[in-house]
């Protein structure tokens, strides 16, 4: 079983979810939560890792962490989000063997997607915490305070991460 950190298990304030206000969602059972949250959790992990295989791993680990104490978690979606963030940030820190270096193939997605410009590969190459902050801010639509809560840092730190991330994207394009 994957270790569960306190920060993952600790209750978090309700946070709006991209797919809807998950603070209102109380899943009747684990299976329902699993079926409904698998895709959003995988997608979030994918945006943060830029790697489909790794994202699947991270998403599964998040659910393994959730299953044993699902009954003690009031907000599974928030728990999963925080769990994904913790695992993604921890991947490099712990230098886990499963980490797969990002390559062009990793950030590529099948098909010709009109909105997918070169921002996406540049995003995927940002430093880990900057990328995570940008995904939470601009994909999950969390405000700075909420991002700080999920990442376990100060609001000012998040502002700085987002600012530097955007700045780097601008400079990379020049």
């Amino acid at each position: 079983m994957v270790p569960i950190s306190d920060s993952e298990a600790a209750p978090v304030e309700p946070i709006s979810d991209r797919a809807g206000a998950d603070q209102e969602l109380r899943y009747p059972d684990f299976e329902t939560a699993y079926r409904q949250r698998w895709a959003p959790t995988f997608r979030l992990a994918y945006l943060m890792t830029g790697n489909r295989e790794l994202a699947e791993e991270v998403a599964q680990d998040a659910f393994i962490g959730l299953v044993r104490h699902f009954h003690t978690v009031d907000n599974p979606a928030a728990y999963l989000r925080r769990s994904v963030v913790n695992r993604v940030i921890g991947l490099n820190r712990r230098a886990r063997a499963i980490h797969i270096p990002l390559s062009d193939n990793d950030v590529a997605v099948a098909g010709d997607v009109p909105e997918l410009d070169e921002t996406w590969p540049r995003l995927a190459r940002l430093p880990e915490r900057q990328r995570v902050a940008l995904v939470l801010r601009f994909y999950e639509d969390l405000d700075f305070r909420q991002v700080a809560q999920v990442m376990g840092c100060r609001t000012g730190t998040v502002r700085s991460l987002v600012h530097r991330g955007l700045q780097r994207l601008r400079s990379d394009s020049k």
């Binding site: 306190d6 791993e57 699902f70 009954h71 003690t72 997918l116 995003l123 994207l169």
Partner: protein, 369 residues
């Protein structure tokens, strides 16, 4: 994928927003594993174990052959396979593997592709039914210990795995499911009703008792942690120690070690004979209109729908190019090589696993067989 050039102005954040939304909607979402698999952490087919394999594409080859033969096939990559020589001109050369033939498992002529008889013997790393039951035994003991620990702290916890829980199984079409080729419903979920029982108990507690319950189960806010990352005061950690003993932190690592991964996979895909066979496979695929250079590329870069179309060709080319038989041969060779090189570590891991099983049986009140 076509990547359009970008010029950033003041709308960088909006571009980020659009780009993330586009990437999220474009990525293929894989099928989730069965719920029960989340609770049998050492189950052989857990994604987290499969995905750590550096040679995932090997599984594609093996899955193809399993489909050809209609054989039930384990996800473990260190399979021993044997392709019977067909005698057909131009067919793959007979392997020099020393894996003994098993005529009983021969696929009848007329099945699969042409006259080739694809024979799949029991994989070396594949678990026997007893080994799979042992996984349940260990998980059930862990759950029982969690319940005992929680009870000692004044809480009720219903074990999510018991000795009656069906052992994990690999469905016959698992290879196809892994690549989203089929959309079978998930297996039945035996866990949710038990979780609901725990939830009912939890909901009846006051807020303060709920906090205490969480702390008892997973550890408090500032709990000290074991090297494996578990809060040492938590019932989950104590259950692990009770079952895995001093080797608590190495339980999952041992499992990986005993699968001989990643060593075998890495060596197989660097083997000259394997690379030559892959080259023939690529030529065969291109002739059939699938422009891929490597098997890895096939599985990593094609979308689910493209892969579904390409799979029949992959199946044919895998056999016709000899890739399947070469994989069998070199894999057997390198598995033996790794076993020799890591004999001491493997023996130690096996011993630790056996000790865990013994402890688990003792916890469950079972006799040694």
């Amino acid at each position: 994928m076509t990547i359009r050039p970008t010029h950033y102005g003041d709308d960088t954040s909006e571009r980020v927003r659009r780009s993330l939304a586009a990437a999220a909607s474009a990525v293929d979402v894989p099928e989730p594993p069965a719920v029960a698999d989340l609770l049998t952490p050492l189950a052989p087919h857990r994604i987290s174990e499969r995905k750590r394999l550096p040679a995932r594409w090997l599984l594609g080859v093996a899955a193809a052959a399993a489909l050809i033969g209609g054989a039930v096939y384990s996800a473990a990559p260190n399979i021993d396979v044997h392709v019977a020589p067909s005698g057909r001109p131009g067919a793959a050369p007979a392997p020099t593997s020393n894996v003994p033939a098993n005529p009983a498992r021969n696929v009848p002529e007329g099945r699969g592709i042409g006259p080739d008889k694809v024979e799949i013997t029991a994989p070396a790393g594949r678990r026997s039914p007893q080994a799979l039951r042992n996984l349940v035994t260990v998980a059930a003991a862990e759950e029982k210990e969690i319940a005992r620990c929680m009870a000692a702290r004044g809480f009720t916890y219903t074990p999510l795995v018991t000795v009656d829980t069906p052992p994990p199984t690999e469905p016959p079409n698992a290879g196809a499911q892994r690549y989203n080729l089929l959309s079978d419903p998930l297996p039945a979920d035996p866990v949710s009703p038990l979780l609901a029982t725990n939830r009912r108990h939890y909901d009846q507690l006051s807020k303060e008792r709920q906090r205490q319950y969480g702390a008892a189960l997973t550890g408090g806010e500032n709990a000290s942690r074991s090297p494996s990352g578990f809060a040492t005061g938590s019932c989950i950690y104590q259950a692990r120690v009770a079952v895995y003993g001093p080797s608590e932190g190495s339980a999952e690592g041992d499992q990986q070690l005993l699968k001989l991964e990643p060593d075998v996979g890495d060596r197989v895909v660097r083997d000259p004979a394997w690379l030559a066979a892959q080259s023939r496979w690529s030529t065969c695929m291109r002739k059939r209109g699938v422009n891929v250079a490597t098997v890895k590329q096939l599985f990593d870069e094609l979308s689910s729908s493209e892969l579904k179309s390409a799979f029949p060709h992959h199946r044919t080319c895998t056999v016709d190019s000899g890739l399947w038989s070469v994989t069998a041969t070199v894999q057997t060779h390198y598995a033996a090589q790794v076993r020799r090189e890591k004999a001491t570590a493997l023996a130690a891991a096996e011993r630790r696993q056996q000790e865990s099983l013994t402890r688990a049986r003792r916890i469950l009140g079972q006799k040694e067989p």
